[in-house]
């Protein structure tokens, strides 16, 4: 119960990271590397799909905090979707819904990215 995997795909103009498994101090560097990769390629509309995210500790939460400012300064955003109640509870305990938009499903999150894009035209 230590595995953590990230897979990447596109949903329209949104770059989706699907997280699977356990995000703790051991696996958090993998997420850090993933964000660094996306930012380097200027892929700044980032949706983190948490359907298969079984566990998160503050090490994982800290990775989101490390990149949000750069991503938003670059005109993008990090949004999240499909969290289990267990995982959402931890985000909520730390007040993350104040800073991040967290959606119940991916479709709603992508619509929000699209809506933002439309409003800046």
């Amino acid at each position: 119960m230590n595995e953590f995997k990230i897979s990447f795909r596109e949903n329209g103009k949104v770059h989706v990271m699907d997280l699977r498994g356990y995000l703790d101090a051991h696996t958090a560097p993998n997420l850090e590397e993933a964000f660094q990769g996306l930012i380097k390629e200027k892929k700044l509309n980032i949706l983190v799909n948490c359907t298969d995210l079984a566990y998160i500790s503050s090490a994982g939460l800290g990775v989101f905090m490390a990149f949000i400012e750069d991503v938003r300064t670059g005109g993008g955003d990090i949004k999240m979707s499909n969290m289990s109640p267990k995982v959402y509870n931890i985000f909520d305990l730390l007040g993350f819904p104040m800073l991040y938009e967290i959606f119940t499903d991916e479709h709603e999150a992508v619509k929000k990215f699209d809506a933002k894009k439309q409003s800046t035209k």
Partner: protein, 145 residues
Amino acid sequence: MSVRVKQKVTKKNLRIPSRTDKLVLAREFVADAAKVFGFAEDDVNNIALAVDEACTNIIKHAYHYATDKEIDIAISMRKPEFEILIQDGGNHFDPKRVPVPDMKEYISHYKRGGLGMYLMRKLMDKVEYSIQPRRNVVRLIKYLH
């Protein structure tokens, strides 16, 4: 005449190396004991996460990521009290020097770090730190309701 029955204390111990890939062992160890003790799933998850946070702090701050050290986890169970003592022999840590973050302020300045202690206090009923000669001890308690 009332007869007071002394409740038995059940103890379990685990020692793990100070490596982040061993955090899963600490989580599973306490989760298994918490389940048997009678905690509901949410509480079991919270206890496991609190222990993860404590052990991660030890690896980072007490041991500075040295992987050849040890972390001792001792569970002591007597209903309704589920106590976990997590001990290390690393650098002393003064919890009073870590400010309790105001999360709104913290979040709005995109800070990171210091979340582990905050989470532990939210997840457990009691969190106590003591510094003993050559040992730091974190005491976590959760009560079964």
